[in-house]
Symmetry: C3
Subunit: 209 residues, 3 copies
């Protein structure tokens, strides 16, 4: 990845590392509710941590990020083992799991959008790649754990990610610098998603048939 | 994509656009039966419209068609919104949904086979890529909507697609021009699939265990 | 694929062919239990036979093996038809299905790890690619047949594959030649998996809420 500004490259890198760790923890928490063993939990954690970025990189024909740099796998495995053996998984209330999931969604969505922009994708494709990066890991985790994916759960989810990605792109279009724009986008995703969980905000449903 | 004949390139392009629009509508119709909201319906529509071609392009190591040309996304979103707000989804009888699905299957199968041939794949690979292009979008849509995929529903489906792809390749092999061969292939897929629905045509089952 | 030693290239090739055939048979056996027709069985067989290697090749940005060489499709289809029409599927006890599945897991895991090494992946990525090659075909087959994937079934599965891949890499690291190291890795996967089935060996579970 050749980014013009060293600083932005580092920002994307470390945000990606943080998102991988957070999402791995959500995989362990959900697998724990299913009484999975260590391998099952590791599978769910790796799917959550690496799934979204993998699909993004395949779509962009980039080298898949964790094939290029195995530190991502080590971070995901480290977070998995830490969460697994912390012993606290037992005492985590199920709804608390939604908070790290929302953080992972916010981080991955903006990082994915950034990488799409860096790769030269037009804005609509870049924002869609951001949503895919944010959403797919959680969908894989939930499918593996035989849960209805949160993205179909009713409260704003992909909508929150899309809004944050568009805010990030819009702020840049009107001249805001990269880092504040990215920060605003992440805060927007996180705030919308947490508000949607807290006050059960939903889009209107299709009434059909 | 470098096609020798401008006309064939245009034919593939516009057939692909039509297939994307038709398949997006099937996604909205099916999501409507599940009382999805606008985002859920959009997800199902994008999966149905873009899924098959995406897998084909990844397998061929081509640039994914909607990453290269965001018009496909706009067409899919336009068809989604039109179907969503037409208000008629309420009154569409469930089985009518099978007709646009069959049209999408016919269009995508032949376009996918053509693109495989253009990319230099041998006939068996090209026909398999055609079936994948035709079938995968509907499978993703049905899995997201938690339905048994139509391709496993019993009546001819992948078989109809394969027969049409082979007819298209066979007609070309005996010297029929590109456009009539493609037309004949599409008509064959559509006719076989509609006949299979109408008269419940099935292949014999494995009786095991 | 350019391998230094002709012999190793041939070994990888024919092991891959054997793994494709064995896994195609597992697809037919499982589809038979579901009363699938010939097309459904073929789908399950192709998913089992080609799925793992396809994901590996996409992740490595290699040409997908069955797109590059359609002999793999012919082998998979031949094994499918042979198994389908052998008529014996009726009399195969369900648990016997676990033995070819274990053989396919052993062959695919080591071939996948070898291809990762040849492609220049570091050891952790190569072993993970081996596990993916071994496991993903069976997961796709089980998902298509609406079964809980064996990898989540409780007895050692991905763990057996990972242990064999690491043994293979470790033996090479201490100077053992390619072919004996690969053989030892395959035997280790097969022995661990069969022992796990026979004596119900499991990893400890997460007990969480």
């Amino acid at each position: 990845m050749t980014v013009g500004y060293e600083q932005i490259g580092l920002f994307i890198y470390w945000t990606g590392v943080a998102a991988v760790a957070v999402n791995a923890v959500t995989g362990v928490l959900e697998a724990g509710r299913k009484q999975a063993d260590l391998v099952g939990a590791t599978f769910a954690a790796l799917a959550a941590a690496l799934g979204g970025g993998t699909v993004r990189d395949l779509l962009l024909d980039r080298t898949v990020f964790w094939v290029a740099d195995q530190n991502y796998i080590l971070v995901a495995l480290g977070a998995t083992l830490a969460a697994f053996f912390a012993g606290r998984v037992r005492r985590v209330p199920p709804r608390l799991f939604l908070v790290p999931d929302a953080i992972g969604l916010a981080l991955f969505t903006i990082v994915g959008t950034q990488i799409g922009v860096v790769a030269g994708a037009p804005w609509l494709v870049a924002s869609l790649l951001g949503v895919i990066t944010g959403v797919v890991g959680g969908v894989l985790r939930d499918v593996l754990c035989n849960e209805v994916p949160l993205v179909f759960g009713g409260e704003l989810y992909a909508t929150a990610a899309l809004a944050g990605a568009l805010l990030y792109l819009g702020l840049q279009a009107v001249g805001v610098a990269e880092l504040p724009a990215a920060g605003a986008g992440m805060v927007a995703v996180l705030a919308l998603r947490l508000a949607a969980i807290r006050w059960d905000i939903r889009l209107p449903k299709l009434r059909a048939e």
